[in-house]
């Protein structure tokens, strides 16, 4: 099983040189720490910044500089600031290449649910609906099952959905999977110590397992 750090590390391997990337709140934010240093990439924050840097040291904290998770941040050299409509113009226009975000459920056709639990949680969708409707590549970081063991990789989402047919790849605590264009999850890699059988048993949606499934290796 992968911990949150390992999920972030594994997702970081998907990042390609020259990409503009939007990282969601939670595990996706951690991905920034593991992007190989030889890659030139730029992180976008939908509240109005291209070029997110590391968290500030205590003396560099600026209340006028936060990310979409409301965390204090810094800017790298070559950053640009803009307003919210310009930020989502950038997202909606397909200029951001990769979006990494969390999910409560993903369906076998790539639908994602991550914004609402009826009667329980009403936080709002924030920018997630715009992001999933726009980015050409969407990678989801999530737990494979709920705390009571129910699969979160489903035939159909049970929760109100955030976007349809948009998720391309999923990294869970158990596995790396592609969402196939024709529907269905395709198993690509197993977490260390996790068997194919366990992944099969914990995936409710259609799962394709072809040939040997390699185990992920971490340094």
């Amino acid at each position: 099983m992968l911990d949150k750090t390992q999920i972030a590390k594994r997702i970081a391997r998907e990042v390609k040189n020259g990409q503009y990337i939007n990282l969601g709140i939670g595990i996706p934010t951690l991905v920034a720490n593991y992007i190989p240093e030889n890659l030139e990439v730029v992180l976008q924050s939908e509240n109005g910044l291209l070029g997110i840097g590391p968290f500030p040291t205590e003396d560099k904290i600026d209340p006028d500089l936060i990310n979409a998770g409301k965390q204090t941040i810094t800017m790298v050299k070559g950053s640009a600031l803009f307003n919210s409509s310009d930020s989502f113009a950038m997202i909606r226009g397909g200029h951001v290449h990769l979006t990494i975000l969390g999910a409560m459920e993903v369906s076998e056709n790539g639908d994602i649910a991550n914004w609402k639990i009826p009667g329980k949680m009403v936080k709002g969708m924030g920018g997630a609906m715009d992001l999933v409707a726009s980015a050409e590549n969407i990678i989801v970081a999530m737990q494979h099952c709920s705390k009571d063991g129910q699969s979160k990789l489903l035939k159909e989402c049970s929760l109100p959905i955030t976007g349809i047919k948009c998720v391309k790849k999923i990294v869970t605590d158990l596995a790396v999977l592609d969402v196939l264009p024709e529907g269905g999850f395709k198993l690509l890699e197993r977490a260390p110590g996790v068997t194919v059988e366990e992944i099969v048993s914990k995936t409710e949606g259609k799962l394709l397992v072809e040939g040997e499934i390699p185990e992920m290796v971490f340094d």
Partner: protein, 232 residues
């Protein structure tokens, strides 16, 4: 040049009445019009519709207006930081219209720009699409969304001049520039107010035409929601 200066927040909000539609700039607590919110709290207002990306926190920002039951309806994209908000919503005391953040931003821009409606892919296939016109362009489905305006827009800038020109700092810009365009009356509070002519015209984010009243704010708290530091 037309002069827009007023003395302070109380004078700026003098004619805001109950049941008005108000816009508030800010993302979380970053770039919110703290002085105007304080001045509104001093007035005996009810039935307000507030358009703001977030709803503040329990004891700061728009959260204080919710606590005082001034707000009938919130139009926002994310309200997760406010427990009082969630309580009023679940109990049915508060109407809430949750809108995708990019759609909210673009609807406000459209409202200010004389564009009554536009198409966006955000929300297609979700409950956001319910009751909305759908249309396909180049093989992809889109929703029609309408422009959004307000009786008063409250914005916070870093620097401003007496002509109403505004410059924002960092990510405190966020929704402020679009909201400035969409208020019938736009009230700007700034950290530093200078005479017209001192700001470089190339650097202005919001031209003064959009601002009806401007004043230099006082005592900014600029509360941080998620103070996150690295060891350096």
């Amino acid at each position: 040049m037309i002069t827009k200066t007023v003395t302070n927040a109380a004078e700026a909000v003098r004619d805001v009445v109950s049941d008005s539609v108000l816009m508030f700039g800010g993302f979380g607590l970053c770039g919110i019009p703290e002085n105007c919110i304080q001045a509104l709290l001093q007035k005996d207002l009810t039935g307000l519709t507030c358009i703001s990306n977030n709803a503040g926190v329990d004891d700061f920002g728009i959260g204080l207006m919710l606590k005082k039951r001034m707000v009938k309806k919130m139009i926002s994209s994310y309200v997760g930081e406010n427990a009082e908000f969630e309580r009023q919503l679940l109990s049915g005391e508060l109407e809430v219209d949750l809108i995708p953040q990019g759609t909210l931003a673009e609807r406000i821009r459209a409202g200010g720009a004389g564009i009554p409606a536009f198409f966006t892919p955000a929300g297609v296939g979700t409950e956001v699409a319910e009751g909305k016109e759908m249309r396909e362009f180049d093989g992809k489905m889109y929703l029609m969304e309408k422009g959004l305006k307000a009786d008063f827009a409250f914005v916070k800038a870093w620097k401003g001049d007496t002509a109403g020109n505004l410059i924002f700092k960092g990510t405190a810009r966020n929704f402020n520039p679009m909201m400035a365009t969409a208020g019938k009356i736009t009230i700007a509070e700034v950290e530093e107010l200078v005479p017209a002519g001192q700001l470089d015209p190339n650097h202005i984010h919001t031209p003064g035409i959009y601002v009806q009243r401007i004043f230099q704010g006082v005592d900014y708290e600029k509360r941080i929601e998620q103070r996150t530091v690295s060891k350096g």
